[in-house]
């Protein structure tokens, strides 16, 4: 570049590519040389089988700079009209306290962390999640809560599944209160159909007249009505049915809790505790139950244990319930929680405290009573019991006029199919809004109504509102954590203190294999909290969200091109949910062509646990296919199994590149074999980051595949959620993907059921992937894949002389991740993969994936975003650790009393005046000199997993135990 460089070369359109990809051209070349290749394309040719190579650029728009992409997205966003949505149905406007918005939701220290599999460097978010569980327990009146599920409707479906697991009833039917949220009825129906359960929908009062294994009620119900569920609950329980209640969390601040009515399971959305509606998500759904059902609970549960110094510490408990251990016998296929959103809800509760939350709830309720009283005064009737939702009796021309006025005033009301309109007030409602609503609903009749006057006339009357017997008497959120941080100074510092306990991408590489912890660029994240994307209600009229829908359509097209599919369904809001949705499409397609007997799902032994767990949800029979000693599918075994099951073969679930991080040569033949025998191919997209621009699942032979937008397409992991798992499908499956009962989608059959609560899943995080693809373009995405493969091979090559690298493909190359084998070292030294994982914390790293897909190994995925210097720092750490292990092998270090077994080391260790270990404090905490400049301190010593599971405690401990 000099003064004569032409303008063309000075443009910035491709500038983001170099921001996203860590190694620059010089480093890339050096790394290639290390591996003996001249160029990235040489490396890819040597790694990727020729038969699957794409050999053309992806047909995507040219890359845009960050500013160009933001400006184009802003243009789309501004096409959304921000009307005030009072639709309710589980989604309410809320105020995200600014201190939480800026320091958590918009803060990479919180949103880039992974699921807390390594609890010693995750104590901050684990502490908040425990508070979240405590908040849920208190408000619902239950004994045990999990750390969140995807959305209220899927949580309700999980409640049904739990009911079936624990109920002593022989019935195969599940009852749904007809006034449950429509999307929840939809999702439960779909799930029940897959399990083969019968569904009975009826009036809540009649529930116990049916013979059922379980039942669910909405509290308050869809129309706002509050009913004492106690009698129904006891009558059902007398018949061995398990009773579930979907409850609005805010209302529970004022209502008798479902737990006090005897409910067995309580679920709901925590969105209105400070999480934007975001056109449907992401939000955290809560799930609470009785202690006796703890082993039947789906999802993550955070519990209390102790560390090696006896200090209280938090961890994920009872993981043996989950898919990664129990596979098709797991309670659920659920993998992701919604950690970021659950934590925001908990922080909202801490920030406001019990009195603050109660005040918000009382204000909402008071405004609703005033609104109702004014309407009644003018002769318009509403439901007499309510918390925040009125179903207003207006019909015919009167209703049309009201809707017309609502549109003029910028309000979205719930349009029912009867002669009523629904209005749900929320935290953002004001006295002025109530007066406008009177005008909207009453027209000229509103004249003379005044909020202050009506407010005064309500006096102490409880004629309308919450029935006296259903008013909450019990205290909630009494724990100190909810009563300490009500000024912003304290809150800010508490949030920062928690954040500092967690290792995130803001600190270091997180080389978790199969997790693709790449950069979540700031420019990708910014649009998430733009009001145009964060404010819309998922059921807002289409014409108000045309910008949103355009963005979603464009992203669908991009993903279809990248993956080689004909269509994309955005509804699944996690990877595992995508598997379920994809298998559902396969099943419904097979049924449509008369192949109803096809129910066998072939799954390689190396598959993610979600695969068999998802197949189980479809009532498919899981048949495991062996892997050969190279980590590839054993084609001979596959042929035998296919032959054996050819008449009943429904699908093969295959991960590509394989979970062993290898591009299998035979993959096309494998897909063909399945098709030749009447089956469909489901390709797990977990490893798509090795394929983008290089090969396409659709071309290889996949009929359907989920795309983990939170891996390959830059949605951050949120410390354990949210994710997004849209599925790409071939044309023949397109009619059979999920539709939605409230928002009808174009494409899927009208009778296709929903898999998630919201029509486009967690829509508000889709701009992240849109931005990434727009800024990278075809060339940038290809280069990202090439560098991801380069970096994995670079690490494999540099570590090879120190640790055995398992599984390679042609020319000895791995794909985008590599597995190193610690079993020989364990045999020789007693040092385990866990010791190495914990020791890496002392070097400032998060461990790679432990013991998956092979026990006793570590799987390393660096991603394209990590610069070479960071890769070298990691390699140096691994080599130093290898030397420490050698000292144990040689007997130079004690087999138990060494820096590996005692890892990680904390400041408490370094300050220990009675340090009597046979290695120095320097060796413990500063094994390499660069740590003196920058050191991440784990906040606790190694956590005792066994103690935690034997002494299960999943609520906030007494305050004295925090030291």
């Amino acid at each position: 570049m000099n003064i004569n460089t032409p303008l063309q070369s000075l443009q910035e359109s491709e500038s983001f590519i170099g921001r996203h990809i860590g190694p620059d051209d010089h480093d890339t070349q050096a790394m290639l040389s290390e591996l003996g290749y001249g160029s990235l394309s040489d490396l890819i040719r040597a790694t990727v089988p020729d038969v699957i190579a794409l050999n053309r650029p992806l047909a995507l728009a040219a890359p845009s700079s960050e500013q160009e992409a933001l400006s184009r997205l802003k243009h789309l966003a501004q096409q959304n009209k921000l009307h005030r949505s009072l639709i309710g149905l589980g989604y309410f406007d809320t105020v995200t306290p600014p201190v939480i918005l800026r320091n958590v939701l918009e803060n990479p220290g919180w949103y880039t962390a992974y699921t807390p599999y390594q609890p010693e460097i995750s104590q901050g978010r684990l502490e908040t999640l425990l508070a979240y569980q405590q908040m849920v327990l208190d408000l619902t009146g239950m004994q045990l809560a999990n750390a969140s599920l995807l959305d209220e409707s899927t949580a309700a479906a999980e409640a049904m599944a739990l009911a079936k697991r624990v109920s002593k009833s022989k019935s195969n039917a599940f009852f749904i209160d007809e006034r449950t949220l429509p999307q929840t009825i939809d999702v439960i129906r779909t799930r029940a159909d897959c399990f083969g359960f019968d569904i009975i929908i009826g009036a809540a009062a009649d529930a116990a007249s049916h013979d059922v294994f379980g039942a669910i009620f909405q509290y308050p119900d869809r129309d706002g009505v509050i009913t004492d569920l106690g009698p129904m609950i006891s009558a059902l329980q007398a018949k061995n049915a398990v009773t579930c209640v979907a409850a609005d969390l805010m209302s529970l601040a004022l209502l008798k809790s479902p737990g006090e009515m005897g409910a067995d399971v309580v679920v709901g959305n925590t969105q209105r505790f400070g999480v934007p509606m975001g056109f449907g998500g992401p939000h955290a759904a809560y799930f609470a139950t009785k202690d006796e059902y703890k082993r039947a609970v789906p999802g993550r549960i955070i519990g209390v244990s102790v560390d090696a110094r006896g200090k209280q510490a938090f961890r994920m408990s009872l993981q043996t319930r989950e898919q990664h251990i129990r596979r098709e016998k797991a309670n659920s296929n659920i993998c992701t929680a919604q950690v970021l959103l659950a934590n925001i809800a908990a922080m909202y509760a801490m920030y406001h405290g019990p009195e603050g939350v109660r005040k918000i709830a009382l204000r909402i309720h008071r405004l609703t009573r005033i609104l109702a009283a004014g309407l009644t005064q003018k002769g318009i009737s509403t439901n007499s019991s309510f918390f925040d939702t009125l179903t207003v009796s207006v019909s015919g021309a009167q209703r049309d006029a009201a809707l017309q006025r609502a549109a003029e005033h910028g309000f979205n009301l719930r349009v029912t199919d009867t002669a009523t309109l629904g209005v749900s007030l929320d935290e953002c409602s004001t006295a002025a809004e109530v007066e406008t609503l009177w005008q909207v609903l009453l027209g000229a009749d509103a004249a003379g109504l005044d909020v202050n006057v009506t407010d005064a006339t309500l006096a102490d009357s409880t004629a309308i509102g919450i029935p006296a017997a259903l008013q909450r008497q019990s205290a909630f959120m009494t724990h100190a954590v909810f009563n300490r941080y009500h000024n912003e100074t304290d809150m800010l510092r508490y949030l920062k203190r928690l954040e500092n306990r967690d290792l995130s991408l803001a600190h270091a590489m997180i080389p978790l294999g199969s997790c693709t912890m790449k950069l979540n660029a700031t420019a990708e994240m910014m649009p998430v909290t733009w009001p145009e994307f964060s404010k819309p209600h998922p059921f807002a009229p289409r014409e108000q969200v045309s910008g949103y829908l355009q963005m979603i359509r464009e992203l669908e097209d991009m993903l279809a091109e990248i993956c080689g599919f004909d269509a994309v369904s955005m509804q699944p809001n996690s990877g595992a949910q995508g598997e379920y949705a994809g298998l559902l499409a396969i099943r419904n397609y097979l049924n449509s062509i008369g192949q109803t007997q096809r129910d066998v799902c072939l799954i390689p032994s190396s598959a993610h646990g979600t695969n068999p767990a998802s197949a189980q949800m479809l009532s498919m029979k899981v048949v495991v296919v062996a892997c050969d000693d190279k980590g590839n599918i054993d084609v001979n075994d596959l042929k035998v199994k296919v032959e054996q099951h050819k008449d009943n073969l429904a699908a093969l679930m295959i991960t590509y590149p394989s979970t062993h991080g290898v591009f299998e040569e035979a993959v096309k033949d494998i897909c063909q074999l399945i098709h030749d025998n009447g089956g469909q191919v489901y390709m797990d997209g977990a490893n798509l980051n090795a394929q983008v621009g290089v090969s396409r699942p659709g071309d290889i032979g996949a009929d359907v595949s989920h795309v983990n937008l939170h891996k390959t397409f830059c949605i951050p992991h949120g410390g354990g959620g949210p994710g997004m798992g849209p599925i790409g499908i071939k044309k023949h499956l397109a009619p059979f993907v999920a539709n939605h009962s409230v928002v009808k989608l174009e494409g899927p059959n009208a009778d296709s059921g929903a898999v998630s609560a919201a029509p486009w899943g967690s829509a508000s995080i889709l701009p992240i992937s849109w931005m990434y693809i727009s800024m990278m373009g075809a060339a940038g995405l290809l280069k990202a894949t090439q560098v991801a493969i380069l970096s994995a091979n670079y690490i494999a090559q540099r570590l090879e002389g120190h640790y055995p690298v398992l599984y390679t493909g042609k020319n000895g190359r791995v794909a985008h991740e590599c597995i190193i084998d610690l079993r020989p070292l364990k045999a020789a030294s007693g040092i385990t993969e866990e010791d190495v994982a914990k020791r890496l914390m002392d070097y400032g790293f998060h461990a790679p994936t432990m013991s998956f897909p092979v026990p006793g190994t570590l799987m390393i995925e660096p991603t394209e975003s990590e610069p070479r210097a960071e890769l070298d720092r990691f390699i140096e750490a691994m080599i130093c650790i290898r030397r420490e292990i050698a000292r144990v092998e040689l007997g130079d270090l004690h087999a138990e009393n060494n820096m590996l077994k005692h890892a990680p080391h904390t400041l408490a260790d370094i300050m220990d005046e009675n340090w009597e270990r046979p290695y120095s404090k320097n060796e413990a905490a500063f094994p390499v000199s660069s740590l003196r400049d920058h050191k991440f301190w784990p906040s606790v010593n190694r956590i005792d997993n066994v103690y935690g599971d034997r002494n299960l405690f999943c609520a906030c401990p007494a305050i004295e135990s925090y030291t």
Binding site: Q319, T320, N945, V946, D949
Partner: protein
């Protein structure tokens, strides 16, 4: 090195049985099984009075990282359950063949006991 007492019979799925003098059978999981599982944190004890068939899943034993089904080694009725394991599952680690027993079964087909593996055969299988 795992312990394989000679006076016991074994199943391929890592359960042991001991024929008692009264004709009932005591069963548990083997030393080898508890070693593989690691620290046991929970045992889903079978219900007393339940009738099981040989090789039927009857219980689950869990460590922090693994869950393993326990299969009925023989057919019969479960006549006693080691309730102490509810509060002290670690007993299965420390004393798998004695205090760590899981249940007693009244065999409905005593001939099945003879079909189980002897200590040497089972030990060979575990190598």
């Amino acid at each position: 090195m795992s312990d394989f007492p000679d006076d016991l019979k074994y199943s391929a799925t890592h359960e042991w049985v001991r024929l008692e003098e009264d004709g009932t059978v005591t069963m548990g999981i083997t030393d080898h099984a508890q070693e593989l599982l690691g620290d046991i944190v929970f045992i889903d004890l079978p219900e007393e009075g339940k009738v099981v068939d040989a090789r039927q899943e009857m219980s689950v034993v869990e460590s922090v990282k693994a869950a393993s089904d326990i299969y009925a080694p023989i057919s019969g009725e479960i006549i006693a359950v080691n309730e102490d394991l509810a509060d002290a599952p670690e007993t299965v680690n420390s004393a798998p063949y004695t205090d760590g027993w899981i249940c007693r079964i009244l065999p409905s087909n005593p001939a099945e006991i003879e079909e189980l593996l002897d200590a040497d055969t089972y030990a060979g299988m575990c190598e």
